[in-house]
Symmetry: D2
Subunit: 312 residues, 4 copies
């Protein structure tokens, strides 16, 4: 499969169309875009058949991308409005899979000790959980309160245990009817870093993303529907380099035309070049805005409130 | 049972002896003290029969308290020496229960977002884990490397799930031969806050401690031996107040003797008085040194290194 | 002078009245209380002459205490409302001393690395400053924008330099017309920890507070009016113990009456007793709610927004 | 001047030699390299005349770069050894400018709230200061103790005040004989991020670095010698892209030779291309290893210990 270097269905669909010079929509994909206001755009990509799956390497299901512009300078009001969009979209996805009072487990993937990876655990700390109150002091809650629990399982490099192994054990005991997983994604666009959210009801199927080692978290592996809330927090440094080279090559070919060398060069050589630039391979280099700490705080508020109002 | 307001077996034994005016050792308890150097004292309390259990409210087993003096001003060398004492004592406890290469799961209880409660999760972040390497790249490890994994399950108030429920599921999947649990303890002595460690091979049986809600973590509930590494991080404010009152009452009675009112007053009234001082009951007030952040960083190094050298 | 063990003018006035069995107001003090709603009370204490100064050990000026109840469970709306009260009171104090466009320097005292002491530096990070924009890109600002700058000078124990020495140099260069200083206070009431604010236009005159070493920050030392925004973040452990003992002694005397021993005991002995309980003197023990991290985040929002709307 | 996009004298000298195809050393520069062990290399660049200054855009003086390899996996021992190299080099620089007991002010530039920028303030928190002890309790110190003070002035974007303005006022009051400034640098090499240190006795002269706005901190502006300890913490994303393009263009020209278009393209066009890739200009995009948090903790220990042993 094509190496999309992004986990966003929307970006993959755009890349696929561009690479194949498609003017109409891909067979097996339905897409539409809704502009909420100057700062918020909601894009929907539905993968409806196997051809769509193969084209963009994502299983059948709904993929909703919410882009927030100018989050860097957003104040309380914009953050509240952004969270309401997350609530609205998440509520619709939930309604497709469970009843109003069915129990939910919220899972925050990532590593609290690594800044660009800390969003999942930070959101978990803000989730309004009810499960222990329902057990120990039900009298303080409304009658139809939904059971909500939450966990940050940590990462393989810190625990030595696959996320899937940890979650399976917990789900056996807690028995939620649905799992919401918050995860960091790789994106192609630095504009989207900590400024976009992808909601999907297909769970998490690792692929072109940053961390390939973890196994998939889906209804197939966990036994209940899995809604993934993914936030792009990194662009791989190699992506920036590769995108620069692609643009240059296009430009050279457009303007200088018959360069046979460049015609052959395209893919393989580019990676050799990038490797020369990004030497120390044992490091995981990422491109990130210097303002990442403050962006993550804002995105944490958007996602946590978005979930709290959707599930309660 | 007497409300010891401490989780340390050593303090309970001292309080029991004092309250009962015992000159010799309690029946069912064996105790000895070893002074390592000017700054480190190791005290051993063995509970050997049911009478000992009833006296101090702790199950049969070994309780080793290591007190570090002047940790506030300790430098790298003292921290290293302190960690070596932890390694030595922990190695002996491990040898009593498992073989040299038997797998271990290290559990860090507590809440990373609450300063005095963050020690457990912070230690987990420093544990040298091997389980994932044994699975994915065994060639980089020595042949007889022990399998070590680690987890911070979070707290009931953040997850809605009992620690026991989370751990049972994980243990079913990971199948360790022994569990080490790092926990924050309540102590009677403000001198011990983040300056002492209690190692015990009896697991965790909640009682007079701060957080009564969680259920016990022992071989009976988890199915494998449980070594508890407890660090006093709080003294309840009520303890300070109660200890002040006890001293005053003793003094008044010693010197003024026949005060009938005081004779009756002793226990019940004290709590009414303390309540008047410590009003907002919904808060969990603790006494803590202002230097708690830096003490916890040092204790984290001592415990993490102590474990890493004992298990690897 | 009486050791009030609190920096709040309101608590000192109450203690003075109680200790002297005053029914009417202290000569030299004017006080009134305004209940804003179920959760917010504003109390005003004016020290109007020397007798008032001597009584409560605070210089002539206005002391406004805002108490927030239930901050622990406060959500966005309550925090916003609380910040509006701070804005209103602060605006009135500012109007007494400077013009609408006069420049202001906001100073956050405290140590970012010590949880209960980190409020000042955290607020500074949220202040909307304009001074550099006025200098480098005035075209992006409204014409009558006030010049606002901000600094966290650190603490003597970390810098080796008195706060006064640092501020004098900065004020010589920046030349603000008024200084706002955010500071942590000691209180007698654990209910007020990170749940109250005292605004005062008299600057900071160290006295019975936690940190006596620093020198005063007032118009006399800095050359411009100084508004102090103080937030109680600690109660000394000795206060809890002393208050318990006082209550006990009162009770014993009320009910058992003629106890000569107790009559003499009152003050001196209490401190000997408390010393026996609170041994390691080199530590600075404080009583703090376990929820201090989250309370400080909320109070940071209240103060920062309160200032931002008052000064801009 | 050539846009070096690096603050390291060593990298500038290499780039200059390469760009000008120089085989011998640049006139006005002296350079040598010393391999301490497998993991540590010390490189010295002396700028000895105006020609050297113009070539690499750095004032006359000594520039010592210490490169630490494998810091990511470094343990206590390697960190200690690295800090000893910093101590040795820093001691020699100090001896060139001041006497053994002359007072020093250590300044940590940067923003504690922005992960890649937090090194300076973090080091300040670890400096062993003596100034307040010399003033208040000289009896606890050795007779010839040097006066050491330290400050984190914050950044222009948070304070609204130029670092130079803040430091001038403090230096007027504290009157140190020398200033050590810790600063984050831009580098061309991602291998050096939080893994190298540049010591220089020429202070800080902003130029091709990330933050151009601040004014220079040198003996000319502060009135005392300024030793700069700079740590590369970021590579600009544009650098990665530009370096990839340069390599590609070289390769294309080597192998395809007579491409007139590429011959003209070289410099200007590259920036247009990079701009197309790195769109949202208001952001400050950087390349950083994902492990930046842990690298900064290690580097903080190396620098703080390196300074503490050199100055005390």
């Amino acid at each position: 499969m094509y190496n999309f270097r992004t986990d966003l269905a929307l970006e993959r669909r755009d890349l696929y169309k561009k690479a194949n010079n498609l003017k109409e929509e891909i067979d097996g994909i339905e897409a539409k875009e809704e502009k909420i206001n100057d700062n918020i755009i909601v894009s929907r990509v539905e993968v409806i058949n196997e051809n769509g799956e193969n084209a963009i390497g994502k299983p059948k299901g709904s993929y909703i991308t919410i882009d927030f512009k100018n989050l860097k300078i957003a104040h309380e009001e914009e953050i509240q409005m952004a969270s309401e969009i997350v609530t609205k979209e998440l509520s619709q996805l939930l309604a497709k899979h469970i009843q109003k009072t069915d129990s939910i487990l919220v899972v925050g993937l990532g590593n609290i000790y690594v800044t660009p990876d800390a969003l999942g655990p930070k959101v978990i700390n803000e989730i309004d959980i009810t499960r222990h109150l329902l057990e120990y002091m039900p009298e303080v809650l409304d009658k139809d309160t939904r059971e909500v629990s939450a966990i940050s399982p940590g990462v393989l490099g810190t625990t030595g245990i696959e996320t899937l192994e940890i979650l399976k054990g917990i789900i056996d005991n807690v028995k939620p009817k649905l799992v919401i997983v918050i995860d960091a994604l790789a994106s192609r666009s630095i504009e989207r870093i900590s400024s976009s959210v992808q909601l999907a009801d297909t769970g998490i199927v690792p692929g072109a993303g940053v961390d390939n080692a973890r196994k998939e978290l889906t209804i197939a592996t966990l036994g209940v529907p899995v809604i993934a809330i993914g936030i792009p927090t990194v662009v791989e440094a190699a992506t920036i380099a590769a995108d620069s080279l692609t643009l240059l090559i296009q430009k050279v070919q457009n303007e200088a035309q018959s360069n046979e060398f460049l015609n052959q060069l395209q893919e393989e050589d580019k990676y050799t070049l990038i490797k020369e630039v990004l030497t120390p391979e044992e490091y995981n280099f990422i491109v990130t805005p210097k303002e990442i700490d403050s962006l993550i705080e804002k995105m944490k508020d958007i996602i946590a409130r978005g979930i709290n109002f959707a599930v309660n």
